[in-house]
């Protein structure tokens, strides 16, 4: 018998023995509790009864309001499991070893294909095509970053954020921030909603800010952290850490009395930093406190989530973070994720869906790119901690996916897991042989597929897909340096290298510039801020750049496998957002880190020494994804744009004519 139970029993017996005043109210705290629990009980019964009574009316109203489905549905429910970056080459390799039995079973009973991805084969582009069924020219996402052509700046391609002043009802001006989703066209779940078919969409990339739909949606990739970045972590140490670096900031940890340490962690702009206290309790045990919240953590372990609160005037802004404390003490704090139980920006549709999930499965990572790859690259996290973070987030995602499968009886359920992408990015260099981290990850993804199959019913259809595959990334290509070396870009006198944003580029002599992971833009007069290339000369120039790129060699190895022009591979109204030239690099070669944001280094080719040693920003034919369907189809070489029309048809909705994909 536990001490607590014993104490409770003793007190009960004591109170029964001692004759006393009997009031039905024992103190304010417990009094509120009992009152609340009574209200909860009454409400729960009332709402469930009302739901039961009004259900026939709701069904009737929905039936009358909805548009009749033009086709006969082939199934009751479609489940889509997105495994970001799952490579067909590795799946087939592991099959040869007898691994991945659930994926094998799915392939045998249904269909398996290597799936054509978008050009370029990067997540924002590919998942946008997945959800809209159109090529990038129609949805307007061509890369993680797009070019602000007037200012030669790299901006996030999928979200446009505006800050403005707005008067409230008292006439006081307040700063407001609004975000707009830049992905155009319609996701197929919006089309399903028109026919009264509900969807649950979990963490599909490029769904932030969430768009209304008939159902529930939790945004994925591109959800910012509390600092408004795509992930900025904090490291804290006793001395000399007040600095910024790629992916994070350093703060000084100041010693307080006894075994207490304190650090001020900056949060949202215009808010004072939050004080976080760390108490060394000895034997490797620590307590972390912030505001009224606290948690316990052992040295070298990643903590649970802690709520960190910031004040913007009188408004509370809540974030959540995990901590890792090592000898020193040296403290790592994850990016400040938006608290899903009290979101400061909309994370879901409806807005309380994230609150529901936070209660149902516990707090969860909300940041678009949640796994902290920069911290591992910068050496602030070791591999073990990174993996424990990645698997913790995977666990959260799995719980919310299971909840969605359990609750949503029909319609559509989509969930994207990005653990597979992050682990391959960071551990490709460690090999893919059995026993490796990547092999273990594939085994876990296979178990996930098995669990999902177990929950499927006869009239359910399952699609398992990845947006792209994976290859190695051993050599960086600095496209801007290559442009300089070949006379397409000119630096100002005295400038040798450029850190970022093309500071030091002589635009009056530059005809082309590279920006983003896979694009070269011409400096067109009238389109670019300081453009000099006449539109009629663009064609010749593009051909010249293409010819030269195709001759780029790394020793005896050809670096560029293909060079495509946007106008040849894309169609649609948003083609002007695309880079003009899309070089497709060969296996192992990828755009350099600096040139992505407008930097110009000293060498066109140099070894990639970072932990990020696996990638997929290559020629898209080299990084095909996987496509498994639980039913048999005969379509050869399926493409990621085929998924949307297929799901629509399956649920009895005719795919719209503007979609580029075919029904499988």
């Amino acid at each position: 018998m536990t001490g607590g139970l014993l104490l409770k029993l003793m007190l009960i017996i004591g109170l029964l023995i001692v004759p006393s005043l009997a009031y039905g109210y024992i103190g304010p705290g417990a009094g509120f509790g009992i009152l609340t629990s009574f209200v909860v009980f009454v409400n729960a019964v009332a709402v469930s009864m009302l739901s039961f009574l009004f259900w026939p009316i709701m069904v009737l109203v929905r039936f009358l309001k909805r548009t009749r489905r033009p086709l006969k549905p082939e199934c009751g429910k479609v489940v889509i499991l997105g495994l970001d970056g799952l490579s067909p080459l590795l799946v087939e390799k592991y099959w040869a070893n007898g691994d991945l039995p659930n994926l094998k079973k799915l392939a045998d009973t249904g269909t398996y294909h290597r799936m054509k991805t978008t050009t370029p084969g990067v997540s924002p582009v590919a998942w946008s095509s997945f959800q809209t069924g159109v090529n990038p020219g129609k949805h307007g996402i061509f890369d993680f970053l797009s070019a602000d052509r007037k200012r030669y700046l790299a901006v996030l391609s999928s979200v446009k954020t505006k800050t403005f002043q707005k008067k409230n009802f008292l006439g006081i001006r307040k700063k407001q921030v609004s975000s707009t989703l830049m992905r155009m066209s319609k996701p197929f779940w919006s089309l399903l909603g028109r026919y009264g078919i509900r969807s649950t969409v979990l963490r599909v990339p490029i769904t932030y800010p969430p768009e209304p739909l008939d159902g529930r949606l939790l945004s994925g990739m591109c959800v910012p952290d509390l600092r408004g970045t795509q992930g900025s972590y904090t490291v804290m140490a006793p001395e000399g850490t007040e600095r910024s670096f790629t992916g994070g900031i350093g703060r000084t940890l100041s010693k307080q009395e006894k075994d207490w340490w304190k650090a001020s962690v900056p949060g949202p702009e215009d808010c004072d930093p939050a004080d976080i206290l760390f108490h060394d309790k000895g034997s490797g045990k620590w307590t972390v406190l912030s505001g009224g919240e606290k948690l316990k953590v052992n040295t070298d372990e990643l903590s649970e989530w802690l709520t960190v609160t910031y004040m913007a005037g009188r408004t509370k802004i809540r974030g959540i973070a995990r901590f890792r404390i090592t000898e020193g003490p040296f403290i790592y704090c994850t990016a400040l994720h938006v608290d899903p139980s009290s979101p400061v920006v909309p994370l879901s549709h409806p807005v309380h869906y994230s609150r529901y999930l936070a209660g149902a499965i516990g707090q969860f990572a909300t940041l678009g790119l949640a796994e902290d790859t920069w911290a591992l690259s910068n050496g602030h996290l070791d591999e073990k901690s990174f993996l424990s973070m990645a698997w913790a987030y995977y666990g959260e995602r799995k719980r919310m996916f299971t909840d969605a499968l359990t609750r949503g009886k029909d319609g559509l359920t989509v969930c994207v897991f990005d653990t597979s992408d992050r682990i391959q990015h960071m551990f490709w260099g460690s090999g893919t042989e059995p026993g490796s981290v990547i092999h273990q990850m594939y085994l876990e993804m296979d178990r996930l597929v098995g669990d999902t199959l177990d929950r499927m019913k006869n009239n359910h259809r399952l699609i398992v897909l990845s947006d792209h595959g994976f290859t190695s990334f051993h050599t960086c290509i600095d496209f801007n340096r290559w442009l300089v070396d070949n006379g397409f870009m000119v630096l100002e006198d005295g400038v040798e290298t450029v850190n970022e944003s093309f500071h030091g580029v002589d635009w009056s002599k530059t005809v082309a510039y590279a920006m983003g992971l896979s694009g070269i833009n011409l400096n067109i007069r009238g389109r670019e801020g300081k453009g000099i290339v006449e539109a009629e000369k663009a064609e010749t120039l593009m051909k010249e750049i293409k010819d030269k790129l195709l001759t780029l060699m790394d020793g005896d190895t050809k670096v560029i496998r293909s060079v495509k022009f946007a106008r040849d591979i894309y169609s649609g109204g948003y083609i002007d957002r695309s880079p003009d030239i899309i070089p497709g690099t060969d296996t192992g070669y990828r755009a350099d880190w600096g040139c992505v944001t407008g930097g110009v280094g000293s060498q066109a080719l140099y070894p990639n020494n970072r932990h990020w040693n696996g990638d997929h920003c290559h020629d898209s034919d080299l990084v095909k994804g996987v496509l498994f369907t639980s039913w048999k189809h005969r379509t050869e070489s399926p493409s990621i744009v085929d998924v949307a029309p297929t799901v629509l048809s399956m649920l009895g909705v005719k795919p719209p004519g503007y979609m580029d994909g075919r029904t499988l």
């Binding site: 607590g4 104490l7 409770k8 007190l11 009960i12 109170l15 001692v18 004759p19 006393s20 005043l21 009031y23 109210y25 024992i26 103190g27 304010p28 705290g29 417990a30 009094g31 509120f32 509790g33 009992i34 609340t36 629990s37 909860v40 009980f41 409400n43 729960a44 019964v45 709402v47 469930s48 739901s51 039961f52 259900w55 709701m58 069904v59 929905r62 509900r198 529930r216 505001g291 009224g292 139980s341 409806p350 309380h352 869906y353 609150r355 529901y356 999930l357 936070a358 209660g359 149902a360 516990g362 609750r407 009886k409």
Partner: protein, 255 residues
């Protein structure tokens, strides 16, 4: 305990009793919410509350499926019992100081002062035999009805009013009321009791030789608040709750 409350109420002795009652209510509200914070599993309550909130939101989110709503309602009710279980320990711990405080307030603020115009009845239980008392006048107060004697049960009773807050009839072994100021304990009976019982009955007077017990029916005090006539317990309940809410916000207590 009596001394402690006398000290706590000392600054209010010359004021209207309502002030003393409100002060103790506020103090109790704050103290009990702090005890609640200390003795309850705040993390578990917080987590459970979030879970329960989520179930409630889920009921709204999945209204289209009555089965899901009923499942969620069932889970919510189950969570509710877990919540009550979390409340049990703090509730039981708070019970004792709460009852002691309530007993003190009951003894001090629940009855009208024993003055002319406040009529009450007293019943005296004799131990062995009824003495031939009752003819003499009490030292304080006035007997206003004839003494009724029930020989079989050794009982005598009569109505009276007090003087200067007291009714003292030494010959019958009766000492009721209080001569103290606002917030003092008012004796309203006398029974044989042990230490623990006396803790919960501060209004219990001393049993004189020959008496087995003294019971009185002194009229209950009503406090005029917001146009209503509130009992001491209602005042205590409302004001302690208000201060507990304030305390919960200030001290970040999850209830």
């Amino acid at each position: 305990m009596n001394t402690l409350f006398d000290i706590l109420l000392f600054p209010f002795r010359s004021l209207d009793p309502l002030w003393g009652l409100m002060w103790i209510s506020a103090l109790s509200g704050i103290m009990m919410i702090l005890v609640f914070k200390k003795t309850s599993n705040q993390q578990a309550i917080s987590k459970l509350r979030r879970k329960m909130g989520s179930r409630a939101l889920g009921m709204l989110l999945f209204l289209e499926s009555p089965l899901t709503v009923i499942k969620l309602a069932f889970s919510l009710i189950t969570d509710n019992f877990v919540y009550l279980w979390h409340l049990l320990k703090p509730m039981l711990i708070i019970t004792i100081p709460f009852l002691v405080t309530a007993a003190q307030l009951d003894a001090r603020y629940s009855r009208e002062p024993l003055d002319a115009g406040h009529r009450a009845t007293v019943t005296v239980l004799w131990k062995d035999s009824i003495p031939s008392a009752g003819t003499a006048s009490p030292e304080y107060g006035v007997v206003i009805s004839p003494v009724v004697t029930i020989p079989d049960s050794l009982e005598q009773s009569f109505s009276f009013t007090g003087t200067g807050g007291l009714f003292v009839f030494s010959e019958m072994g009766i000492r009721l009321g209080t001569a103290g100021q606002s917030g003092s304990i008012m004796v309203r009976g006398a029974e044989k009791s042990g230490i623990i019982q006396s803790l919960f009955r501060p209004w219990n007077g001393v049993l004189e030789h020959g008496t087995a017990g003294v019971r009185s029916t002194i009229q209950e005090t009503r406090y005029n608040i917001f146009g209503g006539r509130w009992s001491w317990f209602a005042v205590f309940l409302v004001f302690s709750s208000v201060w507990a809410i304030i305390g919960a916000v200030v001290f970040k207590v999850k209830v």
